[in-house]
Symmetry: C2
Subunit: 346 residues, 2 copies
Amino acid sequence: MADGEEVSNKQIILRDYVSGFPKESDMFVKTSTILLKVPEGSEAVLLKNLYLSCDPYLRNRMKKAEEGGYDDSITPSSPVSGFGVARVLDSGHPNYKKGDLVWGITGWEEYSLITDVESLFKIQHTDVPLSYYTGILGMPGLTAYAGFYVICSPKKGQYVFISAASGAVGQLVGQFAKLLGCYVVGSAGTKEKVDLLKNKLGFDEAFNYKEEKDLDATLKRYFPNGIDIYFENVGGKMLDAVLLNMRLHGCIIGCGMISQYNLDQPEGVHNLFELVTKRIRMEGFVVLDYVHVYPKFLDMIVPYIKEGKISYLEDIVEGLENGPAALIGLFYGRNVGKQVVVVAHD
Amino acid sequence: MADGEEVSNKQIILRDYVSGFPKESDMFVKTSTILLKVPEGSEAVLLKNLYLSCDPYLRNRMKKAEEGGYDDSITPSSPVSGFGVARVLDSGHPNYKKGDLVWGITGWEEYSLITDVESLFKIQHTDVPLSYYTGILGMPGLTAYAGFYVICSPKKGQYVFISAASGAVGQLVGQFAKLLGCYVVGSAGTKEKVDLLKNKLGFDEAFNYKEEKDLDATLKRYFPNGIDIYFENVGGKMLDAVLLNMRLHGCIIGCGMISQYNLDQPEGVHNLFELVTKRIRMEGFVVLDYVHVYPKFLDMIVPYIKEGKISYLEDIVEGLENGPAALIGLFYGRNVGKQVVVVAHD
């Protein structure tokens, strides 16, 4: 393809705001055209998208901000937007040039004209799988790092519990905690994931929450001395059971509550008074507030990857048109590890 | 009465662990005898109790610690214990002598032999009402100070909401926030209390939560820009409504949840995902962890009292035998301000 050529551009469009469980039909494929050139005088960049990231938080951006989602809802009739990895085809911005690899907020489409260049990061390390920039080296990696290290000041020997532990973020939190010398238990929703947690990711223990009738009893079994740090990815009943098992001065890192995103009315959490009697801090966070620590995070994580000290599970699906199913699969726990959609390989 | 004399000692005894709403009949008056002398060789002190403090947290000490109460449950068939003001009649401890005035953990009885002397504080300032050491100068005062200043680092101009705002702690938090230059709104359960909050305690606004059908709408009316700091005394539905109205990076100070203490199953709180999207910190605390800041607190509060910059509402009932009714009244909101029981005036 020649510079400045007009080409067809396959896109995944959000049909309308979503309520309840999202369905594939909430999105549809549309083919439009795009000029592979940044408009004259603009500081935008034109991207060829390579990998797209399926993240649970996208569900909350599919509803109006007023209804308890994040501030930047996805606009109906527009392409879904989210994190991805891309190659710069043309640039009006002084920091980017043709051929640069970037990760950041892009569209669910083959090509994107990005005007909000501030939300892109130039990829410096290319001797790792590029898809990692949707996961371990991207937003989920920074999320795990900021949530675990910055919010809770973890210490060697502490008891750490992680829900949705084989997911994009959870699997990293668990490995960070193990590297620090913590006792680490994770929950997941299939036997396969539990096996991966124990045998590939080095968790001390893991359990399938779907097979447990009494989560309070389950947690007491794995944490007879209680939990110091809970990395919260699911909410609802699991949070309620965790509250009963926290230790004095424990910390709950509120990263996500995936079990609640598709409910009309979130489940009630009954045991919050435990926060008072046990002097617990529960703190929610959004990774975008921690972008300033990204360089420090990279300094830590890249050597770990190269030395094989940290593994990363990815669940890779080929083809933009398979993106909606992959995204929706998150809410049924179909993904094993970080869910990535390949739009193009280079 | 002569030193070392054996005298009768009226006591309020906890009949058994309490479930549901406490009743007067959960306690009974018993008259035993006590020798007004510390046993030879003991480091205990013998106290004549003057004022007893009725505090909501006592409800949680009336159940077994395993059932989600505090660690130091009150033992059935023993006197209720809690904070009080007393005069030392005899002392085996080098730090205390006959005639000293103290506040701290004592028994609901006329005379107490206290072996855990560590939980007593010697009263230095006696030119204020001694009953203040059950409230503004005692545990509730330190609670308000630690919760408001230490946990949430409040700033001038912030929007502060306080529930149970005319209570022993809430009325102080509101006045601290006003002195700092915050906008302060409180909720209470009667028109009389609302009037006191606005007209005597200097709150910017106050409302009677019992007259509000939709607490979310109520809070939006008083906080069109949202709440930066919520001082949580009640839990349940109020907390759920507050979560919908918190501002980004807000702070919820978990001091108590009085609306929940007598329920078999605490109400469910549904809006906890707001903690994540709004990056809210919710932190529970127990005042006993902040005893080290008590001298600093006194340095601040005593001048405020003497200069008339802070008022303190007390609801004083005469007679130890009226203690149970006064304590139970807390859970029906019968008290107007700090509930104190006078055992003896000197």
